[in-house]
């Protein structure tokens, strides 16, 4: 066996000296290999990468035991800057490009440690060769790129330092199926050029495709490891991470899902879902048309999905429905009310609640407090009564805390109620956001990528939660999501957008066979 490039031995990491995130983790990356780490949310995958790239300190974590060595050197006393210079570069979760810097400047920041002009030129050439789009857009601000392009920029930026080992944290997060394939191809290319890759990936199909070896991380410990092909064949991995196939709209059957468990969500009022009619809505930003003449209808109490490539206008559409953006023309009616004429707090009063693609929670506050904020709409006592702790205010607070607890248990985050949001993993934050939206007792729920960053198993549990909420509260739901098994298993009606236009609409099996949808969105992933 060759000497390993990266060797992690018996690693333990804790946050704030208390929360144990990793224990006894062992992992090796040989030179010239691609290694994938799979695992559900909160399993500690990002923590592992941060420990390796020496950036745990930024988030209050520290290595409490074990050893990490890179190219034979112990990393214990090294900082992030040393790691980069030694050839160990991380692409952070959520891309984190510098939005106000141009593409060129982003790349330049990535090559900061390379002092030699020729080496830097070669690195630039290599990056622009891998990602020709970055050359086309080199003078644009990073923030103006689409999600897929931002991921490419983030990877290109890291490659500017010509790493020996590239650490990738969820490169497929929030990307359309076709783009996920493309990113997978690029990782294979980077590998072929001689760079080793350690990849964390929620999209296990992609992860296992590009990796030679894979590790499964569960609750902070490695539970399985082996050659990718071998792992992909085991039942456990197939059930939890790969899903059966993309075309089976069946309900899940595995045991930890709260299927058919009544959760007794109750409404405090008799509000009912109404019909949502989107008619000929167009949205322009400056010269860019984000949505053009889009129409669809959501029948009361049904689940409707909005899918399409990155930049197709899905989030724009949700933002119009929630009142964050104004439609340039066209109307949206919810029942008799014209949503497009109302400010967003009045739309919330109609019973419309939403979650955000980029998650918008109070980071320092606890999960419970974040959920209580969602109850604001249904709470009756005023600020003065609450401050004075009058009897009826205290009674209401007790009822509200019970209601919040019920929602948390539905979402499986009951044990997190007392934790500050900033200590939670991405997927758990998604759950909290969903909980906050549900807490407002909406009649129409707008979900922007509710299962981004979740494994197949977790997204199935989420699907059950959404279905339970829909049935018990009689909700209408509009969801935007790239996870096709999730969408196909849940939605009754699907609208497909591409370049701001509606290109298809219908029930899942109909949309899945639509040649236009296959071309623009699903690619070969659906075949």
């Amino acid at each position: 066996m060759p000497d390993p490039l990266l060797l992690v031995e018996d690693l333990a990491v804790a946050y704030d000296g208390a929360v144990q995130a990793l224990r006894g983790v062992a992992l090796r990356v040989d030179p010239g290999s691609v290694v994938a780490v799979l695992g559900s949310n909160g399993a500690g995958k990002t923590t592992l990468l941060r420990a390796i790239s020496r950036s745990l300190g930024d988030v209050g974590g520290s290595v409490t035991a074990g050893r990490i060595s890179f190219a034979g050197q112990d990393l214990a006393r090294r900082d992030a800057s040393w790691a980069v210079r030694a050839g160990l570069v991380q692409v952070p979760e959520g891309r984190r490009i510098f939005r106000d810097l141009t593409v060129e400047e982003n790349l330049r920041a990535g090559g900061y440690t390379v002092r030699d002009a020729r080496a830097r030129r070669e690195a630039t050439d290599r990056v622009l060769d891998l990602f020709p789009i970055l050359a086309e857009r080199s003078h644009q601000r990073g923030g103006l790129l689409s999600g897929g392009q931002q991921q490419m920029l983030a990877m290109g930026r890291a490659l500017m330092a010509s790493p020996k080992l590239l650490l990738l944290d969820e490169p497929s997060l929030g990307l359309a199926p076709q783009l996920v394939e493309q990113i997978g191809d690029i990782i294979e290319q980077i590998h072929a050029q001689g760079t080793s890759v350690l990849l964390i990936e929620q999209n296990a199909a992609m992860g296992l495709r590009v990796a030679d070896r894979a590790y499964v991380l569960e609750v902070g410990a490695v539970t399985a490891e082996g050659a990718s092909a071998e792992l992909a064949g085991t039942d456990d991995i197939r059930n939890r991470y790969l899903g059966v196939s993309t075309t089976s709209p069946t309900r899940t059957t595995h045991e930890d899902a709260p299927v058919d468990v009544p959760v007794h969500l109750q409404r405090t009022s008799g509000a009912r879902a109404e019909r949502l009619r989107v008619e000929d809505v167009t949205v322009r930003f400056g010269g860019i048309t984000a949505l053009s003449g889009v129409s669809f209808t959501i029948e009361p109490g049904t689940i409707h999905a909005l899918i399409g490539p990155n930049g197709a206008g899905k989030s724009t559409c949700i933002n119009v429905l929630g009142g964050a953006y104004r439609a340039t023309s066209g109307t949206v009616h919810y029942g008799d009310a014209e949503v497009t004429a109302l400010p967003s707090h009045r739309i919330a009063d109609l019973g419309v609640a939403r979650t955000f693609q980029n998650i918008s929670l109070s980071l320092e506050a606890t999960v419970e407090d974040n959920l209580l904020v969602g109850r604001h709409r249904v709470m009756r006592t005023g600020a003065s009564a609450q401050t004075l702790r009058l009897p009826h205010a205290r009674k209401e607070e007790r009822t509200e805390r019970t209601a919040v607890r019920r929602i948390a248990s539905l979402l499986g985050i009951e044990q997190l109620l007392g934790r500050a949001v900033h200590t939670l993993s991405y997927g758990d934050r998604k759950r909290v956001e969903m909980g906050r939206a549900l807490a407002a007792e909406p009649t129409l729920l707008l979900l922007d990528e509710p299962v981004a960053g979740m494994t197949h198993g977790e997204s199935q549990v989420m699907a059950d939660v959404i279905r339970a909420a829909q049935q018990e509260l009689g909700l209408s739901i509009l969801l935007v999501e790239h996870d096709m098994p999730f969408v196909m298993g849940l939605a009754e009606q699907i609208t497909v957008l591409d370049f701001g236009k509606r290109i298809a609409e219908g029930p899942p099996d109909h949309v899945q066979r639509d040649p236009e949808v296959l071309r623009a969105y699903l690619g070969s992933a659906a075949a």
């Binding site: 980069v84 984190r96 106000d100 810097l101 890291a158 918008s360």
Partner: protein, 296 residues
């Protein structure tokens, strides 16, 4: 008309000096997140060094020492105090800076006493007159120096690795450190730049028509605070534009005080803050400030 143009020219040159000071506030804020209320005494330190050294070593060498001294002082404040805060947050750091300001100012006041030290600039008290519009030579030079300094800053931030690294670190420090950019180094560079800018502004402010270096010079840095705030805390361009606006408005308010006597005397001191408040009412994040949560 010539009276108006004279006031305008004075206002613009004064505004450019305010811009130099305000840019220092911005750079310290974006590179280390500190509201640097000790900026005024750093400025005074630079000017003081020039005032005491121009006689023995000559004006230009004294200016170099003043600039380097103020830059070094900034770096030391950052390295010794700011970076060692047990719990770094903007509030604590701001109060720490107020403390540093009082300490420095007390020591400098002790040294200067009630004297006014001449700055020893070779342009003295000359005045340029073009078609009836008069401007002190010192102010014309100040404007020229400021423009050159701003051009150099633009080059630094747009064209050099250090500048791009500083902007990356300011935008997202955690991610920048994953690129191997050392935040301790970008922070030190920021403080050094701010110190140097303050020293330059100090020398220009202490020149004619001002009598020289006195402890009150530190207070003049505070006149740049409204410029900094209305430009938007984190924008260099905003700070320059803010400086120009405050400079012109102040000069006009002072120049036309007689006509505006219904508003009372001392209008020039109040007007900058009034402008700042009005701008913030309309644009809460300033003229060029980064808006919070642009995309939902």
């Amino acid at each position: 008309m010539t009276y108006f143009l004279t006031q305008l020219a004075n206002g613009l040159s004064y505004g450019l000096i305010l811009g130099l000071i305000a840019v220092g506030f911005v750079i310290v804020f974006t590179s280390t997140g500190v509201l640097n209320f000790a900026h005024g005494s750093v400025l005074l330190t630079g000017a003081y060094l020039v005032a005491i050294l121009h006689d023995p070593i000559g004006f230009w060498p004294a200016v170099v020492v003043g600039i380097l001294g103020a830059a070094l002082l900034g770096v030391l404040i950052n390295a010794v105090l700011v970076r060692n805060l047990a719990e770094p947050n903007p509030g604590t750091a701001a109060i720490l800076m107020l403390g540093v300001d009082i300490l420095l100012l007390t020591e400098l006041t002790r040294r200067i006493g009630n004297r006014v030290l001449p700055i020893g600039a070779p342009w003295g008290a000359d005045v340029i007159a073009i078609g009836g519009v008069t401007l002190p030579t010192s102010r014309a030079i100040a404007a020229g120096v400021a423009v050159v300094v701003f051009a150099l800053l633009w080059y630094l931030f747009a064209r050099t690795d250090t500048g791009v690294a500083m902007r990356a670190a300011a935008a997202d420090g955690d991610t920048a450190s994953l690129m191997g950019i050392r935040l301790s180094r970008t922070g030190a560079t920021g403080w050094a730049l701010a110190g140097a800018l303050a020293a330059i502004a100090g020398v220009l402010l202490a020149s004619f028509p001002a009598p020289g270096v006195a402890p009150t010079l530190a207070i003049s840095a505070f006149a740049a605070i409204p410029a900094w705030v209305l430009g938007g805390f984190d924008s260099v361009v905003g700070a320059i534009v803010g400086g120009l606006i405050i400079g012109v408005v102040t000069a006009l308010a002072v120049g036309y005080e007689a006509e505006l006597h219904v508003l009372g005397r001392g209008l020039g001191e109040v007007v900058p803050y009034a402008v700042m408040i009005i701008v913030l009412l309309v644009r809460p994040s300033g003229l060029f400030g980064r808006k919070e949560a642009v995309r939902v």
